[in-house]
Amino acid sequence: MTVTRYTKMAYANADEMIFGKAKFPVKAGLGLEIGAGLTIPELNYAPRPQAGVSKEALVKEYERITRDAMGRIVQIGAPAVCLESEHVQQMSNNPSWGAAVAHAQKTIMEEFHDEYGVKCALRHTIGDIREDRDFLALRAKQNTTMLEAFDQCAAQGADLLSIETMGGKEVFDYAIIRDDTAGILFGIGVLGTSDMEFVWQNIVDIAKKNKVVAAGDTDCAQANTAMFIAGGLLDKNLAHTTAIVARCISAARTLAAYESGATGPGKDCGYENTIIKSIAGIPITQEGKTSTCAHSDVMGNLTMQVCDMWSNESVEYHGEFGGTTVQCWVESLAYDCSLMNTAIKTGNEKILRDLLTLSDKYRDPQGYVLAYDNAFRVGEAIAKNGNDTYLRSKAAAETCCAILDEGVKSGKLLLTKFELNALDAVKKDLAKLPAEKAKFVDQCLAKYNAEVPVFEFSKNYVL
């Protein structure tokens, strides 16, 4: 499989983008079509820790989860659902465990599909287990085990294959807590992109062999780390302006899955997905107000703006007053989708989209840049420089800064002095970066080989 770069936008303008509709819909599983005109709830869950003691216990736990979720979908009359199982480490380190879970889940989903006609699909997100204790081991034997987990899960019932790859994280972790713009860009935009191409070409081959969908990735390991550290309005750990620069760079990285042959839907926690959709036209899953069970963010409505599936990120399986957690959260997701789908069918989808966007657009610099009109512009910057993974990452960061400047100038986006200073520092850092990738890589290798003890370039990357 070759890598085909995106150098053009999938959409002519931002206004064309809408929830429930993607340029290139994806068919998966049992009658599900994603991005084909309606939004779909995508439930994500985690087994209780004690369920991981044995393969049998884990399979039982996932059976309970699946039956509960599918049952609630029927009880409230939702027409479609996607289930996402993010592997606990036992399921990827022992591919037969993940496969047994996939088989058990799919068997139950088939029962519901046959009996009630519920359209459904199963996503398995294999864990990125490519590491030794203190070091990444991206191309070592763990890679073989990971790919085996993909293959076995696909063979046993997973319809959509995903992963949250970690390439570049060792440099990023060092850089993000030091306001080191070059390190953030190198970790996400160069190392992360390169690793994704390595991984995703293999996943696409496995998906083709098993006639399932190579779905998508997310920069959870890096851009979400930045968002998490940045936290809420009063947290003092990272400027939110820096976090959104990292996010925009991550769009240039996550795009590599689709350049390697993946077709979407992108994964829920990829807050960069609006940018990705504008470039690649693939369907995307997003999360926001319904993922407060897993983490807080400052754009709970906005992320719904152009989603194709709507997710809760993850919730541990246990009891609540309203049923088990998976029953409660799949119900919330389904009602959100019902509202969006009603908007689509009554011709009000653009109004609802704009209301969702506007309710958060000025809440935080992250939401401001990810608002679909601005996200589209970041997408254009990436596509314009699409053939060079460094330059497109740099362009994404520069465009992000320009958008923030405009927001401040309009008087609608209010930033703290700290955020303004951080933004100014990022702009100065970007202005100092070289114009050629080779020179940038040389500079970064010299710096991070010396400063990051866990960075093992030659073992993990081929640039």
């Binding site: 203190d134 972790d173 030091r178 309005l233 750990n237 541990e316 109004i351 000025y362 679909y372 008087g411």
Partner: protein, 258 residues
């Protein structure tokens, strides 16, 4: 697309961080806190700026003036870092500033050590680790840096640390506190095992836990557990122990807010 009028935005959301921002700039606030002694002030200013070379130059100036290298750790480097920590606590500067200052200060300590055969005495020792099965270590890295910046020695066991290795490190090094961080609910249960094995051995030091999915309710299910909502409380725990002893119930009373 639809848009809001500027005057209508405040009805929908409040940027509390903008509304509450202090008038004083970080540089102005720092200047008010720097030591009065010109030599020590230069060390503090270099730490505040996170400039390692300037820290060394300022230390050289101190030594040239006859200051003892080991005493410089307590008299110049730690007070300089304390300025940074105070500004961070007050919300005037952010974590990356602290990390860069900590790097500069630790470079300064290493430099002072090269100038003498004396061994500096730390405020205390803390063992840090990431739970077995968990490789998400950025929180632990921040905890370790903030503890070192506050004058504590840290034994950093790294990530994905087997339960027995944590216990052995505690038995061997007798720290005043052990910290554990975990991102995932699936890995945080290792903390219970660490706790139980420490208790079995009669060890009753506080076990400060936090990160991702960890919460106060969970940490209170094991006897040594003290919940830290963010990394910045780690040095506060350690200083509290120095001042008030290591009774877990006292720490919980002081720091458990939920």
């Amino acid at each position: 697309m639809l848009d809001l009028k500027k005057e209508d935005i405040a009805a929908i959301l409040t940027r509390y961080n903008v509304a509450m921002e202090k008038a004083v700039t970080p540089d102005e606030a720092a200047k008010q806190l720097f030591p009065k002694d010109e030599l020590f002030k230069a060390v503090a200013a270099a730490i505040y700026a996170g400039e390692e070379d300037d820290v060394i130059a300022a230390l050289d100036a101190c030594m040239k003036a006859g200051k003892d290298p080991i005493k410089l750790i307590d008299d110049a480097l730690l007070p300089g870092m304390a300025v940074v920590s105070k500004l961070y606590d007050q919300g005037i500067i952010f974590l990356p500033n602290v990390m860069m200052s900590a790097d500069a200060m630790l470079e300064g300590i290493d430099y002072c050590k090269t100038k003498t055969k004396e061994v500096p005495k730390a405020k205390g020792l803390v063992v840090c680790h990431v739970a077995e099965g968990d490789v998400h270590d950025i929180g632990k890295t921040i905890v370790a840096a903030l503890l070192r910046a506050d004058g504590f020695d840290v034994i950093d066991l790294g990530r994905d640390v087997p339960v027995n290795e944590v216990v052995e490190a505690v038995v061997k090094n007798k720290p005043l506190m052990v910290t554990g961080t975990a991102l995932m609910t699936t890995t945080m249960y290792a903390f219970k095992e660490v706790n139980d094995k420490l208790v079995e051995k009669g060890i009753k030091i506080p076990f400060a836990c936090g990160g991702g999915a960890v919460n106060q309710d969970f940490v209170e299910t094991y006897s040594l557990g003290v919940y830290g909502e963010d990394a910045a409380v780690a040095p506060k725990f350690a200083n509290f122990i120095l001042k008030n002893g290591s009774e877990v119930s006292k720490l919980r009373t002081e720091f458990h807010t939920h």
